[in-house]
């Protein structure tokens, strides 16, 4: 049992934090999210130069072959900075997908430029309720039809990895160039300052060589998404901590009735409860990182659902109370607390909501 981080891990975290401290202040971020692109190419290049985009890339493809613990640390730093660039989507989820399912040629073709910052790849998996993306086998490949939703920064991606179900019921993962015929993107900002799109696919042709893996890859996809979920818990930690820090700072300085409002016992106890949520979330983010690549699926799913429930409840409580204790200032766009609130709101709904994971965990009690 060991809760310490290696020197390399600590350096990684410090380096990331230092970079963001210099390059990702509140004003800078505000200008990024207000821009047309909704992300900064300079920042993307900057984190590529730090080696962060290649963190999960295998060594033979020029990467660091690091794991979920390193990812958690980096993500917590990104969370604290409220980074909107698609690190989670490209450098964690898509990178893991290609590393796990891609053949040698696919890995070489995509992972090297991804790690270098020259290619952004995004897994397009979620569908609007009732939507179902189909893959129909044709000579030498497949035709994809359907609709995907909330595909992060799809408008900037050079590669989409689209999940689709074949006639035989097997789920496959298909590499699609967003510029190819039959692909239409409906782009939009997201509530937390990000960008995403619905991806509409009409008779989109994918050659056999651009299919990742063989047969049904549902279980692989679930494992890949769980790596994303563990990373998301790490990010949540950073946002939660920033929300609490901002609230403590605000209530220390804001005065009402002749004293700082942080002196009022009811507010102090509320902040104590916020801290408890943050610390319990920290414990579960650690657990999620350690179990993210666990081979026993039932053990992995149990741990990750439990983590998402604790983190999700914290997102809700800490987010709402941070705004509440900031009073009127809390609901404005001007302070970072409302931006934290919106990111926590989105995290709670991503990779399955608290209710959905609680339900999965509950059902497993009698399994």
């Amino acid at each position: 049992m060991d809760f310490t981080f290696t020197d390399e891990q600590t350096m990684l975290f410090d380096m990331t934090t230092r970079y963001l401290g210099n390059e990702y202040g509140f004003e800078k971020r505000a200008s990024i999210i207000a821009s047309d692109a909704g992300m900064s190419e300079a920042v993307w290049r900057g984190i590529a130069d730090l080696g962060l985009l290649a963190l999960l890339v295998p060594e033979e493809n020029g990467g660091a072959a690091a794991g979920p613990v390193e990812t958690m640390l980096v993500m917590s730093a990104f969370g604290k900075a409220l980074l909107v660039e698609p690190y989670l989507a490209s450098a964690v989820v898509a990178t893991s997908a290609i590393a796990r399912l891609g053949d040698a040629r696919q890995r070489e073709t995509w992972l090297e430029p991804m790690g270098a910052g020259d290619l952004i790849a995004i897994v397009a998996h979620d569908e609007p309720h009732g939507g179902a993306t189909r893959a129909t086998a044709v000579g030498g490949g497949f035709l994809l039809d359907g609709r995907k939703t909330m595909v992060a920064h799809a408008g900037r991606a050079g590669l989409l990895l689209v999940s689709a179900r074949s006639d035989d019921g097997a789920v496959g993962l298909f590499a699609v160039d967003p510029a190819q015929p039959g692909v239409k993107l409906v782009t939009y900002p997201t509530v937390d300052g990000g960008r995403a799109a619905d991806v509409v696919l009409s008779q989109v042709h994918v050659a056999d060589a651009n299919r990742l893996g063989a047969g049904d890859v549902s279980e692989d996809l679930a494992a890949i998404l769980d790596i994303g979920l563990a990373a998301l818990c790490g990010e949540a930690l950073g946002v939660l901590q920033r929300s609490l820090d901002a609230t403590i700072e605000y209530t220390r300085t804001r005065k009402q009735f002749g004293q700082p409002i942080g002196k009022f016992q009811a507010l102090r106890h509320r902040m104590a409860d916020m801290l408890i949520h943050v610390e319990q979330s920290r414990s579960m983010a650690y657990l999620a990182a350690v179990r993210a690549d666990e081979a026993d699926v039932a053990v992995r799913e149990r741990a990750l659902s439990a983590a998402k429930v604790v983190v999700g409840e914290a997102c809700r409580f800490v987010g709402q109370q941070a705004v509440q204790l900031h009073g009127g200032m809390g609901v404005t766009d001007e302070l970072d607390v409302s931006h934290c609130f919106k990111r926590l709101f989105a995290i709670e709904k991503t990779f399955g909501s608290t209710r959905e994971h609680l339900s999965r965990f509950s059902r497993a009690l009698v399994a």
């Binding site: 909330m150 997201t190 507010l267 809390g330 609901v331 766009d333």
Partner: protein
Amino acid sequence: MDLSFTAEDQAFREEVQAFLRDHLPAGVRHKVLNGMHLERDDYLAWQHALHARGWGGPSWPEKFGGTGWSPVQQYIFDSTCSEAGAPRLVPFGLKMVAPVIMAYGNEAQHKRFLPPILAGEEWWCQGYSEPGAGSDLASLKARAVRDGDHYVVNGQKTWTTLGQYADWIFCLVRTDPEAKPQRGISFLLIDMKTPGVTVRPIITMDGAHEVNEVWLEDVRVPVENLIGEENKGWTYAKFLLGHERTNIAGIGIAKRELARLKRLALTEVREGRPLLEDPLFAVQVARLEIELTALEITNLRVLSAEAENRAPGPEASILKIKGSEIQQGILELMTEAVGLQALPYRREAMGAGYQGDYPVEGHALTPTMQYLNLRKLSIYGGSNEIQRDIISQMILGL
């Protein structure tokens, strides 16, 4: 004891419903029922329709052109209108400054100010809060110095809701800086067109422009726009805050939004079943509906006490706390009902005539913005923490 309305009240309710069917503009109703953004003209259209019917002042006495309705009738009117999708009546003129003018203004002020409020011809806003004076209102700093027939006002007001539409602002200003905090405050009516008045938007986290800062720089206000006596403004301010509390529970709004939540949860499907059949989701809806049922009766109890001239008192704090929690809870659950569709941010979908290429129906796009917007409910009008202080001090005597 009888929880049902009398035959008279029931007839009145039906009269209101009939009026709503005929005179609530369809476009306005559509916006309200779908959580969309209301413009100045939406509010005014409704006020004009009410005024034409003689219902412009539902909470006003007849002698000022109001309806003279009892608290119970006002409640029936308010909740019936809210449930049917009418916009709220903009309170700053009708429910806030007007009662002060009626109670403490002189006859000239009655004549000048009350009729345009009733007719929806002049829009008012509130100049109470300042950056350093929120819950602790008595620490306000805006100064008014007498100069002949005028006061010269300097200061900054904030959280001025819909101030961008306003023709007039009522302000608390300090006229005697030497006096104790609660003395030396006066109540002034200021024309927003006066030189030196500047309105600057505050953008809230839902991206809306609903509140403002109002800067007052050497603003000259005729002394006839002083309400009552100089330095007695705190009395009028407290009187106003008491009036602000009517319909504070928002029962009608909560019923309307709960019905919308249920519609949503019946159309949203998860694993082949309506979401409302998911036991964990259904139980959250049930809890809110049950709490709302209880709060409605609590509200009627308070009204009933009022009707007998027993003062409603700090029970209003209960209505504020539970009412805000229930409304926030309903919207939060709506965002949960729509799942990932809660995350796209399409502010344009909040307006009329949205025909975007994003094919999800309006219903999935508005709950998140309303949820963000409604975080204010537990903060403004005396935060829920202040309300708990009031309960513990006034009711429990602690």
